[in-house]
Symmetry: C2
Subunit: 410 residues, 2 copies
Amino acid sequence: MGNIRVTNGGVTAAAGFEAAGACAGIKYKNRMDMALIYSTVPCKAAGTFTSNVVKAAPVLWDKDIVENSPYAQAVIVNAGIANAATGSQGMDHCRETAQTAGRLLNIPEQSVLIGSTGVIGKQLPIERIKSGIKMLVDAKTAAIEAGSTAAKAIMTTDTVSKEIAVSFETGGKTVTVGGMSKGSGMIHPNMCTMLAYITTDAAISRELLQEALSASVVDSYNMISVDGDTSTNDTCLVLANGLAGNDEITQKGEAYDKFCEALNYVNTYLAKKMAGDGEGATALLEVKVLNAPDKQKARILARSVTGSNLTKAAVYGHDANWGRILCALGYSGVQFDPQKVDISVESSAGSAMLCKNGMEADYSEEEATKILSEPEVTVIVDMKCGTEQAAAWGCDLTYDYVKINADYRS
Amino acid sequence: MGNIRVTNGGVTAAAGFEAAGACAGIKYKNRMDMALIYSTVPCKAAGTFTSNVVKAAPVLWDKDIVENSPYAQAVIVNAGIANAATGSQGMDHCRETAQTAGRLLNIPEQSVLIGSTGVIGKQLPIERIKSGIKMLVDAKTAAIEAGSTAAKAIMTTDTVSKEIAVSFETGGKTVTVGGMSKGSGMIHPNMCTMLAYITTDAAISRELLQEALSASVVDSYNMISVDGDTSTNDTCLVLANGLAGNDEITQKGEAYDKFCEALNYVNTYLAKKMAGDGEGATALLEVKVLNAPDKQKARILARSVTGSNLTKAAVYGHDANWGRILCALGYSGVQFDPQKVDISVESSAGSAMLCKNGMEADYSEEEATKILSEPEVTVIVDMKCGTEQAAAWGCDLTYDYVKINADYRS
């Protein structure tokens, strides 16, 4: 990250962005459950959405805005109810949400994006949503803290809020990219997982904004897995309002590369934060696959390990059960020679090679357990059948994951 | 099952089969951990094996016997160590096992099949294996109880042993098909899951025996899922010794159909028993997908639901969270219209429609919870976009699953 530096805040770090959180009483009592992101000027917007056949109403709404509306200027998010499997009434609720926000913010309803997260199959309490929008509009400010407030307001079973901002220089101007995300359960590859909202004051064409985002999600959000369940609501949006005053990025080159670097940094940071905050998780599990035959195979192998319940339960037990890792590589669908594979583990407590050429290496169980007892653990897999690599992130599988999801709805 | 009837026992139910169990001290103390199946005459053999790229040594050994040896006559199974990721020493151990058994049973080593289940990456204690074989050969009998003993001896984290036998008449002769299996964790579609051994006194050609087995595993073992992890050791073998005295089945027709019906009954029974005995499970979850566009899509949809951690945790919590079921259908990879889907649940406590045309139906949460509190729960999904159906079996996800797998190796 030679060109970029981490700065303060999240979605209000970039020039011209405001935010707010509100307690609207959607489902939770006595906590914020609605958020607003607002730009003082219209933005270019790009988005990536869930690959689930069952798409929530706000996903359909946002896809339409991103593809067909010239600009976007606000995002209204609620936690508690997903507005998924809600039929035409669900779409009506999106329209009412956008109309209400549009009227209060004095912008077209076609520039209001919407996000929902929570229980599937329940209708939104639309009057409470409308009251919430009023509160949000009244409360919005450009303060750095407003971004943090919004990041807290979109949490469901998340235990920590997730935000980050970075800056870089281009042509004498400072461009900032900030973002927030929520995501904890129901997280799996195949799309920009969960809700992530990125704001930037970069001036950039809509085409390049979409291209940068689509490329970035592949190695960030799509490489995290908590439980293998791809949600109906997964959404990642980027709003770019141009207020940094840089020459508009309309072609690939140095400025575009810097923008991509900043966007990747933000997305990867938020993705890892989500993986480490997996429901009930006690550890962030990083899996690096080295020397794979191609990039896509490296990704599939890495995700197969982060997706293995048996591996995740072993990490929870601090058990150096490398056989489960080798097994997960083996059922990934990628062909390879098991007798070439090396498997190591690494954390702040040290590193150890567990498996050499597909067989048990000479290691100390005690030391391996110590390495696996840290809150961030990396598994390094050397396939020795190529030159490509990929990283995936997940978490351990714990009693609390089961507890949270056995009780979630009630 | 008009043509077949359930009879007593398991692998020793068919004429000419003997079995035994022994405490060989492979890994467990004070419990049986080795089993023998033996036929007094040579058998035709058929097998299906794991699709995992990482194949355990006994899988490679058995594949070779099934494909290249004219007959098989015995199976030696050990629990505790998988003999997977053990390199050439692992293969040497298979050869020593077969040589020892062959010598003591006075049969060629190329007619000895081998099965192992347990920890990956450890070498077998081959001297204890050899002592175990001696005990097994000394103890073997044709008693019905000997089959039950063998079924107990191959258990690992299984809580109940699994065996079944059925008979049918053909041309005035009684043919029996019996079997046993073990399987609890690391269970997922894509192959004859875990270890299953079927014995029959049918006279049948090797080609038709293999064809019947391969067809049967698709809708039995391949439709169960406990945790999505496909093992390195999955094996299903059938031995047919011809002692029923029926005219050898050498072509398709009534006798072959009856044999397939009996084999399917045995395999489906054993598969469901494994699913219901998933590690830590408190409930058997059956998912029936109706009116899908084709058979394969029906299977994929059904397995996507039994494989969903969120759905499984909801079943454990007796929570009628149909949104997670719809969501799991949606990320299965099969295209469909979510607004046509109906979802019901059913058990001995009653039935209730939870979702009608992709939206919440009018049901009582209290009643739904009662239905979901039974030890066997069926989810019925009506896709309304075709005429094909499939069933899959899984279990709930519980604290105990995590506990078992966090501690398994130690």
